[in-house]
């Protein structure tokens, strides 16, 4: 379980210091997928970076599950001087024998690309490789920062399917940041909407339906409702 209790968080130094987050508390129960959404610049990525330990928390506490953490960043962040296979192998560290990297590469739809350098991949393929790397470590906590942004609809949809098929094999405690409300409605067990400056939680919605039974009509409806809630909570949007 991931437990986030932030009281305040600022970024920058001196005169440029800005309060980004006010009180934000939530938890992600083991094996659940929570989507974090909100207007751009509202501190979603800062929150993710705090959970990853890449920023120091000013006031509050974040308890991450013991064990391994994996992330898929907005930029795939594959080492360009190492092959796709090597990128995955390096993330594994010492327990590399137990993971079949080849079949994982096949499963994310990169069959035959294992020996390629990241520079030879499209953005969609690079994201797939980053996804494979994240799942390879069998994480106890997975963080996804807009992993489907700047892809065309078709590619994004197929990548979401890949994510869900890999995720369902081993449901992992996941916190995912996304702009796309339809995406959130499709994937999340719960959607948390951040907003304001500094940001707080302005809305949250639990989606009880089994995600495999959610159809286009359901996701569109939920997305519309979420948009409505966001507009009500954040006038001027």
């Amino acid at each position: 379980m991931l437990k986030v209790e932030i009281n305040s968080q600022a970024l920058g130094h001196g005169e440029k210091k800005v309060d980004v987050l006010a009180r934000v508390t939530f938890r992600v129960d083991t094996g659940r997928l929570i989507c974090l959404t909100g207007p751009s610049g509202c501190g979603k990525t800062t929150l993710l970076r705090l959970v990853l330990g890449l920023e120091t928390l000013d006031d509050g506490s974040i308890v991450v599950p013991s064990g391994r953490v994996a992330a898929v960043f907005q930029e795939p962040r594959l080492l360009p001087w190492r092959s796709v296979e090597d990128n995955i192998r390096l993330a594994l560290g010492s327990n590399k024998e137990r993971v079949d990297i080849g079949s994982l590469i096949d499963r994310v739809g990169l069959a035959g690309k294992g020996r390629n350098f990241p520079g030879e991949l499209s953005l969609g393929q690079a994201r797939r490789a980053a996804l494979a790397r994240a799942f390879a470590v069998a994480p106890d906590l997975l963080l996804l920062d807009e992993p489907f942004a700047s892809l065309d609809q078709e590619t994004a949809m197929r990548l979401r399917e890949t994510l869900m098929s890999v995720w369902s094999r081993r449901p992992t405690t996941t916190l995912m940041v996304t702009h796309d409300l339809v995406e959130a409605a499709q994937l999340a067990d719960e959607v948390i909407v951040l907003g304001g400056r500094p940001a707080t939680i302005v809305a949250r919605r639990v989606l009880a339906w089994d995600r495999r039974q959610r159809d286009a009509a359901y996701t569109a409806e939920v997305a519309a409702q979420l948009a409505e809630v966001m507009r009500a909570a954040l006038p001027g949007l």
Binding site: L54, V69, A70, R77, P80, W81, L90, G119, E120, R133
Partner: protein, 254 residues
């Protein structure tokens, strides 16, 4: 792609032949004592090689270059990476680095011989000390330019210290190491000659000094060119292939 190494060789041969041709023409215009012809120098080179003198002095100089080079790259690289990574260290030691960069090579050599005696260690050490600040300055720049995106990724995925250095940091520093190596090897061998001239009884520098006293230009050129040829071979057969190998991931998508 296949034709590329061949074309590279072609250009090299053409350029080199033109240089020799210019030399041959100029040597016919002046006194042979001042500038002997390429043929005359080659004759001296072959004679010195046949009696073993040239290979001996060449290998002594090469040995000094190799030791000084490895020392300078290792120590200078470590210093540069430390300064680039730690802002506080950098602020404190940057003036030291600037002083070191501006210390004349000759002063370092003379002081080294005075303090540590006319020994091999003093000679090689003096050469390395001359090069260390330049390597440090180059690698300091490289370390400051490291991309935090990759360091963060390595932190999240808990890369070991060794993996971070080998797979994240060093590949990014490779161009800086290559630049330092390229300029380093050229500078180091020139300083090695000075060190040999001042305080060693063998090596190319010692021989050049000997032939200078005898006013034997052919001998000076024979030894100098023999070493230049060896350095060209090292550059073409070691440095360049290594750089191409290290750069292969860049060229694939170009």
């Amino acid at each position: 792609m296949r034709a590329e190494p061949l074309a590279r060789l072609g250009w090299f041969v053409a350029s080199f032949s033109a240089l020799v041709l210019v030399w041959a023409i100029v040597s016919t215009l002046v006194d042979q004592r001042y500038l002997p012809s390429p043929g005359a120098v080659l004759t001296v080179m072959l004679a010195e090689t046949a009696d073993g003198d040239l290979p001996f002095h060449l290998s002594m100089t090469l040995m000094r270059v190799a030791f000084a080079f490895v020392l300078a790259m290792a120590i200078g690289g470590a210093i540069g990476m430390a300064l680039g990574a730690r802002a506080r260290l950098d602020r404190f030691f940057l003036p030291w680095l600037i002083v070191a960069l501006n210390l004349p090579a000759l002063v370092v050599i003379v002081l080294s011989y005075i303090w540590f005696g006319l020994t091999e260690a003093a000679a090689i050490g003096a050469v390395a000390v001359n090069k260390i600040p330049m390597v440090a300055a180059t690698l300091r720049e490289g370390t400051r330019a490291l991309d935090p995106l990759y360091s963060e990724m390595a932190k999240v995925f808990r890369f070991s210290w060794v993996a971070r250095l080998r797979h994240v940091v060093l590949p990014q520093l490779q161009p800086y190491y290559a630049a330092a190596a390229r300029s380093g090897i050229a500078l180091i061998w020139k300083i090695v000659l000075v060190v040999e001239l001042l305080g060693r009884s063998n090596g190319i520098g010692f021989q050049v000094h000997l032939y200078f006293q005898m006013f034997d230009v052919a001998g000076i050129l024979a030894y100098a060119l023999a070493f230049v040829l060896v350095m060209l071979a090292i550059d073409g057969l070691l440095l360049q292939p290594f750089e191409r190998h290290a750069r292969r991931w860049r060229t694939v998508n170009a």
